[in-house]
């Protein structure tokens, strides 16, 4: 442990590990980080135990990058532990920031998810009814599993978060700028979204935009697209108008519609509702029936509109009761 070095931890809750890879995608810059920082805890890359974390003094860590949503009791326990041990806790990536892809599970109840996975799966033994329990007795021992929560939470739903870094995953250049800001102590006011822009993806996109009027929506494979023209004008769903900038327009530049991973644009209350407004206004019809037919070409619209941020929506589905 070097004297005066920044004490850093990285953790993943309900996450795929892509955010950890995004840190490594800063390439040789990571070696510069190693000169000024000690990595004290990083399950995906460094050997360590939860006990090591518990043994640390409160506030011993200068910075924790927490990726992943809070899905179960283990995620929550470590989130609370890291909050206590860290001077700066950063929600890193879409899942910690807004709930991310795991957050789409909030459209289903816990019971329905467990039944689908453990009782209805086509590869299961017929009649199987084994569902994970938090405590199971085996040969006189008690085995424990984390409790699976009824819904997926953002990190900020569970603990106080100092900064938010959006992205699935955060763009390496943004990761770099955030780490530099921490090292130099040039962070904005607490609670800010850092490592992102203050505009929309549309504002940064260089495709030509003209009048928007579509008669049909296309899945990307159903159409040969014009690489210069706005994707939405071509009937290809693109969340750019409702999404915060800062990613470098990665998806539209790769001929894919924006998926909205940088979260709601500054000032937007609800990313999905905002996108709904944009998408409906480009439909070229004044006939309710025809409008319905055109909208029929948008399968699973809700999952699309909230792909990375369902738990951040103003509305929350309640199951039962």
């Amino acid at each position: 442990m070097g004297a005066g070095k920044l004490q850093v931890a990285l953790y993943w809750g309900a996450a795929c590990g892509g955010c950890d890879v995004a840190v490594l995608d800063t390439n040789e810059f990571i070696l510069e980080v190693a000169k000024v920082a000690d990595i004290r805890f990083w399950p995906i890359a460094v050997d360590g135990k939860y006990q090591d974390l518990e043994a640390m003094a409160d506030g011993e860590l200068d910075l924790t990058l927490f990726s992943g949503a809070v899905r179960n009791s283990e995620n929550e326990h470590i989130a609370r532990l890291l909050r206590r041990k860290s001077k700066l806790l950063v929600a890193f990536g879409s899942c910690a920031h807004l709930g991310g892809i795991p957050g789409l599970a909030n459209l289903s109840s816990r019971e329905a998810i467990l039944a689908t996975v453990y009782q209805g799966g086509p590869s299961l033994e017929p009649g199987s009814s084994a569902v994970p329990q938090t405590v199971t007795a085996v040969n006189g021992y008690e085995l424990e599993l984390p409790a699976f929560y009824p819904r997926v939470y953002r990190l900020a739903d569970v603990v106080d978060v100092d900064y938010f870094v959006p992205g699935c995953p955060p763009a390496p250049a943004q990761v770099k700028s955030v780490l530099l800001a921490v090292v130099k102590g040039e962070l904005p006011a607490r609670g800010a979204v850092v490592g992102a822009g203050e505009r929309t993806v549309c504002d940064d996109c260089t495709r030509t935009k003209s009048a928007k009027a579509v008669k049909r929506f296309f899945r990307p494979w159903e159409i040969i697209q014009d690489p210069e023209r706005c994707l939405l004008e071509q009937g290809i769903l693109c969340l750019g108008s409702a999404t915060r900038s800062g990613c470098g327009v990665r998806c539209p530049n790769s001929n894919q519609g924006c998926r909205g991973c940088y979260g709601p644009a500054p000032g937007a209350v609800d990313q999905g509702a905002k996108f709904l407004s944009a998408i409906s206004s480009i439909i070229d019809s004044k006939e309710p029936r025809e409008i319905e037919a055109i909208l029929g070409g948008l399968p699973d619209f809700v999952s699309f509109a909230y792909r990375f941020g369902l738990p951040a929506s103003r509305l929350q589905r309640r199951h039962g009761g």
């Binding site: 819904r151 439909i283 004044k286 009761g321």
Partner: protein, 144 residues
Amino acid sequence: MSYEPRIVGFLCNWCSYTGADLAGTSRIQYPANVRIIRVMCSARVDPTFVVHALAEGADGVLICGCHPGDCHYSEGNYKTMRRYPLLKRLLAAYGIEQERVRLEWVSASEGQRFADIVADMTERLRALGPCRVRSGLEADLLTR
């Protein structure tokens, strides 16, 4: 105390608000459950407003605009017409009953029609009970 549904009503300035005004000046009785917000056009009602109203505790949202073809801004109500089906789909995904959000065309001369719509919607919402999305997350965090 018996349950009284709270309805947020977004009324366009040119037709529906004037229609509601006519209901008033004609002394037509209708339930006081609707809280009217005048907007310049039904197209001004961003779906975010509806989401916000429900999240803040409204039991229903009523959007009223000029009849198709009659929009003061020629195309505004068509935008509203296009948004509505998708908004309904969005709300359905959250488990919000279809009756809670309603789009109606009310002209400046349809005071009686406005009163009837409010009366009908109030009764439907009374039967449904309070909107369940109210502070859903907070309730969950406590009972988890």
